[in-house]
């Protein structure tokens, strides 16, 4: 698998099909892997792929520093592949000019991250190629949302108390936003300061406002890569918010962001089948 990956990357660079391969490198096998940007065929030996390859590299596809490097090939796991689909649907990338290298994935983390335990995209979809083999099986929706169901079994006041407690630790570092492939806005609403729309103060109220805003902006767009959750230095379980958005989108609109490249995006289309029960 690793040989295939390095060979593929080398060929893409040697044939000048791409200028940069966005992949994973790892200095210390005991430490995490991290993003690397390979521009010379001889450097493809630096590429690795293993269960420490956490990052969703598609975030870099919209970064100006990386765009300036030219045409890109990007490595994706199954979950990351979904964000390529959404980026293309939202016209943030020209899908034809990006080479998407899917990596069959059996999960990241030791033990596996929560998202991997209910993953139904071990084999990445809608990529230009897939390297390696992994077994895929459908996971029932109720299993995908099990953690959320547990949360929702609590009363509204208990849930509010939980979020108040958790978000009291938020320092507004915006790591959750910065790692997110879907947070590509050049100027986030949180950074709009004439007037300041969302307070910059990292108080519990300010933090609730920030996360509610983030949830609104990611509804029907979040692909559930859970990088926000992993990146949060305060260990706030943002995954619960992601699951909430995903469940609402699936139940109300029969739509899972990034799963079907031809499906109309919920926020970008109107369908007579759209439920309007929320209008009271």
């Amino acid at each position: 698998m690793l040989n295939d990956l390095r060979q593929t990357a080398r060929q893409l660079l040697a044939d000048k099909k791409v200028d940069v391969v966005i992949g994973y490198g790892q200095a210390d096998p005991a430490g995490p892997a991290y993003p690397v940007f390979i521009t010379r065929p001889e450097d493809t030996e630096q590429l690795v792929f293993n269960d420490r390859c956490y990052n969703n590299l598609t975030t870099f596809l919209t970064r100006k520093e990386i765009r300036a490097m030219g045409r890109a090939a990007v490595l994706v796991k199954g979950c990351d592949a979904k964000s390529v689909v959404v980026l293309a649907v939202e016209s943030q990338i020209d899908r034809q000019s990006v080479v998407v290298i899917g990596m069959a994935c059996n999960g990241v983390g030791q033990p596996s991250l929560a998202k991997c335990r209910t993953c139904d995209v071990h084999m990445p979809r809608h990529t230009d190629m897939v390297i390696g083999q992994a077994a895929d099986h459908a996971i029932e929706a109720k299993d995908r949302y099990a953690e959320l169901a547990e949360m929702m079994s609590k009363s509204a006041s208990e849930r509010l108390a939980y979020w108040g407690q958790e978000l009291s630790r938020c320092v507004k570092c915006y790591a959750c936003r910065q790692v997110c492939p879907m947070c590509y806005c050049e100027r986030c609403v949180a950074d709009k300061n004439q007037p300041q729309v969302i307070k910059t103060s990292a108080t519990t109220m300010g933090n609730l406002a920030w996360q509610i805003n983030r949830a609104f902006h990611l509804a029907s767009r979040c692909v559930g890569c859970d990088e926000c959750t992993r990146a949060c230095p305060a260990g706030i379980n943002l995954r619960l918010l992601n699951l909430m958005l995903a469940q609402a989108t699936e139940e109300q609109f029969d739509y899972r962001p990034g799963m079907d490249k031809d499906a109309q995006p919920v926020l970008g289309c109107f369908s007579v089948k759209d439920k309007e029960c929320f209008i009271k």
């Binding site: 320092v171 570092c173 990292a202 990146a231």
Partner: protein
């Protein structure tokens, strides 16, 4: 001869402080796998082991992420200002790591240089820092590379060393610490020591000498292109101290607030004209590292880093002072041979 205290007596002491109305902060489990320095409600909340480094730093008890500088009220043509009540309560930070405590004298320089920050200084006066020497370290710790170590006393008022049998050796470093612990310890023959700290990760003297002339080095881009531009490094760092001053309120009144800010945000240096002097992420990372290892030391003599490792530990792309300086040293040494 040494002074010791049992773990039980130490907890009773914490309980006594809390009862006396002293605010006590220490390492506390805040979620299943999260330990943070936080205010303690009960003595049993305080963890004295079982973690490497809390996810934050003790700076927030001196330089909080948000504080009100004053309130303002607008009535007709009149504007009334109200200063906050000066901090009255006594405070103790217990279980600080040596790399956190060492950050305090470093921050003192900044908050007492051209302007003496009354908010910061008041908290410094009111707070006693009790440090727990480290018995363990992880891949990210590098205190020994910046002249500190698992038993460094800098910035601490009291040092605690774990002994066998649930005991701690107590070494009072300052008078403040001596007053806090007076009459609370027993005399003993036991003395505490710590295992060696992390191996050195870079040569500080070499880097200090070289870095000033390396502003245009390609290593900045090579080592930092992956930076995600968040504030996780600065906000978990014990020595990062940038802040922004903002007004929060409406037409009737509000507060002028001092909030943390971070040099990795593109907005940090964005001018009103739209021009940004630090226009790319590697330029912003260069600023972070240069500030710590060139600009600040040139001004104040110390490096602006205690090797706590939080920046790399909490970075989603495994990037921090340590990874950048390792890459820099390697690249610069190779270039000169």
């Amino acid at each position: 001869m040494s002074e010791v205290i049992s773990a039980r007596a130490l907890r009773e002491l914490i309980g006594g402080w809390l009862k006396a109305g002293i605010r006590v902060a220490g390492p506390r489990r805040v979620a299943t796998d999260q330990v943070a320095y936080a205010w303690l409600d009960r003595p049993e909340d305080c963890l004295l082991g079982g973690y490497i480094h809390p996810h934050n730093s003790i700076k927030e008890f001196f330089f909080p992420r948000h504080e009100s500088l004053y309130e303002y009220r607008i009535e007709g043509k009149k504007i009334a200002l109200k200063n906050p009540e000066p901090l009255a309560d006594e405070r103790i930070v217990i279980g600080a790591r040596p790399c956190d405590a060492a950050a305090m004298p470093i921050l003192d320089h900044v908050f007492n240089w051209d302007f003496k920050d009354p908010f910061y200084n008041r908290r410094r006066e009111q707070t006693t820092v009790v440090t727990l020497a480290c018995r363990e370290h992880d891949h990210e710790c590098f205190c020994t590379s910046v002249g500190l170590g698992p038993d460094a006393e800098r910035g601490s008022d009291v040092m605690l060393y774990e002994l066998d049998g649930d005991m701690y050796e107590v070494r009072c470093v300052t008078d403040k610490g001596g007053n806090l612990m007076a009459g609370r310890t027993e005399t003993s023959q036991l003395t505490g020591s710590v295992p060696p700290g992390p191996a050195k990760k870079f040569d500080l003297a070499y880097l200090r000498e070289t870095i000033g002339s390396k502003f245009e080095s390609p290593v900045w881009t090579e080592a930092t292109l992956r930076c995600m531009a968040c504030g996780a490094c600065a906000y978990t760092c014990p020595t990062c101290h940038c802040f922004d001053i903002v007004d929060e309120g409406n037409a009737r009144g509000g507060i002028r607030a001092k909030n943390w800010d971070a040099c990795q945000f593109p907005m940090f240096t964005l001018h009103a004209s739209g021009h940004n002097p630090r226009n790319t992420q590697p330029q912003r990372q260069r600023q972070r590292v240069m500030h710590k290892f060139s600009i600040y030391p040139d001004k104040f003599g110390d490096v602006l880093c205690t090797g706590c490792g939080n920046c790399t530990r909490h970075c989603s792309v495994h990037l921090g002072v340590q990874t950048v300086l390792e890459a820099a040293e390697k690249s610069w040494r190779n270039a000169t041979v």
